[in-house]
């Protein structure tokens, strides 16, 4: 009986899974892009730059993602004329771009803290040695600091991706039929709880697959000895 349920709803489940993947695969690169200026800003010597960045991080890391999602999706409607004037209303009109934007803003905050921490954890001696060799600071950053920081940040970033996959289930509260939304829809038609078990297995499978791939990449990319 359980397998029947799976077969009957296969196409809906596949569509839901694809939407979940679409959310994650659009939000993560966007978050990565946003994290670059934020990371640089967080390391800035000027308080005028560091202050706003800190406030951004405190806001997005300190409040629940579901509240942020509602804030962007429902809150933006109040500023419709302004947003239309700016030509960005299309982002806030539909649930999908709204969800992607919120996830990206949220994930960017966590990624920034992670990457900044990794950069700060690169031993100072490395930078001093590079300077003693006469490398200009741009090349020190590119060839000495960033490769080592990348290795330090990689496992943490893997966790961040997993959290993003899980968090994407929240998109269902702003009317999107991602995997979670599809599961709720199927349940409301069949009242069969096993659909949630199948759904849980799909999530576990997605995350398990990602973990395996991430481990392979980590072994390949960072096979050089630790300092």
């Amino acid at each position: 009986m359980g397998a029947n349920l799976l077969v009957e709803n296969a196409s809906a489940l596949i569509e839901g899974t694809l939407l979940t993947l679409a959310l994650v695969c659009t939000a993560l690169p966007l978050a990565g892009l946003l994290a670059v200026p934020l990371t640089i800003g967080l390391g800035s010597r000027s308080r005028l730059i560091r202050g706003p960045v800190r406030a951004y991080l405190a806001f997005f890391r300190g409040s629940p993602l579901i509240a942020q999602l509602f804030l962007v999706y429902y809150g933006a409607g109040q500023f419709r004329p302004t947003l239309e004037l700016l030509g960005v209303w299309w982002v806030f009109r539909d649930a999908f771009p709204c969800a992607v934007l919120t996830f990206a803003l949220n994930s960017a905050a966590y990624t920034t803290v992670l990457v900044r921490g990794a950069i700060n954890a690169v031993p100072k001696g490395q930078i001093e040695a590079a300077r003693a060799l006469g490398l200009p600071s741009g090349r020190i950053a590119r060839h000495v600091v960033l490769p080592q920081a990348a290795r330090l940040a990689f496992p943490g970033y893997g966790n961040e991706v997993v959290l993003m996959i899980k968090a994407s289930a929240l998109a269902t509260v702003i009317t999107l039929f991602d995997l979670m939304g599809t599961l709720r829809l199927i349940y409301s038609k069949t009242f069969d709880l096993t659909i949630f078990v199948w759904g849980a297995l799909i999530y576990i499978l997605l995350i398990g697959t990602f973990r395996t791939v991430a481990n392979l990449i980590e072994q390949r990319l960072f096979c050089w000895p630790k300092v």
Binding site: F59, S63, A67, L183, A200
Partner: protein, 242 residues
């Protein structure tokens, strides 16, 4: 502007009182989930170092599953599953059903189980950090296994685990907002009701974010204080900057 602020006032048409009640429910859910998570996590961590292979595998599987499944899904399955089990049981015994589980309790249970799955990692690292010599020593002076754990290992492990568990507590505080989906009258739910009645989503969701930020910030401060105290006693902790 004053109109907007009056929406947040305590009495007369303001939502202040209801938001405060919601905040108490939020804290209640977190406070119920915490012991489940702490004890559950410790049991999982201990189970993972058991001599019995089946127990080890069971704990590992349990942990991985709850870590990977979205909190929202855990919440739904548990709520609907428990409701179904109760009505099934009632039918079996022949009692007229009419009792549904409290969404607040089920919500706290679900969040507690998720907390436990992550706390298991923290406990495991902390138990590893205490070192073999401590348990060998405790056993050799005649303490039983349980006594050694309670009197020697755990006090030391708790110290190592505190920062990690503190992070999980902050995450838990934010995750409690999810129980609003089950119509638990927590802060997030009250905010949603306020939005529905006033049509001021931006104001209220922003207020929600700031209240949660206040909660997490206070928690982080207290945890930092507690960690410092562990190292050097209260006086030093209170005089230390930060």
């Amino acid at each position: 502007m004053t109109d907007l602020l009056s929406l947040l006032s305590w009495g007369g048409g303001g939502w202040g009182r209801l938001l405060f009640q919601g905040l108490l429910v939020t804290l209640g859910v977190a406070a119920m989930a915490l012991p489940i998570g702490l004890v559950g996590g410790l049991l999982l961590a201990l189970g993972e170092r058991s001599d019995r292979m089946t127990l080890r595998w069971f704990c590992r599987l349990w942990k991985t599953a709850f870590q990977a499944i979205p909190e929202l899904l855990t919440l739904f399955v548990l709520y609907l599953g428990i409701a179904k089990a109760i009505s099934g049981l009632a039918k079996l015994v022949g009692v007229a059903q009419g009792w549904t589980p409290s969404p607040m309790v089920v919500g706290a249970l679900a969040l507690g189980l998720v907390f436990a799955s992550f706390a298991a990692e923290v406990w495991r690292a902390a138990l590893d950090g205490v070192g073999r010599g401590q348990s060998d020593g405790a056993r050799s002076i005649g303490l039983s296994k349980v006594q050694a754990l309670r009197l020697v290992i755990l006090p030391q492990a708790l110290q190592l685990a505190l920062p990690g568990l503190g992070n999980l507590w902050v995450i838990l505080l934010k995750d409690t907002a999810l129980v609003s989906i089950l119509a638990v009258p927590d802060l997030m739910r009250q905010i949603n009701l306020a939005v529905a009645s006033t049509r001021e989503p931006f104001l209220f969701y922003l207020v929600a974010c700031f209240i949660y930020i206040a909660l997490t910030t206070v928690s982080e401060r207290l945890l930092r204080l507690a960690t410092a105290r562990q190292r050097s006693g209260w006086v030093a902790a209170l005089t230390e900057r930060g």
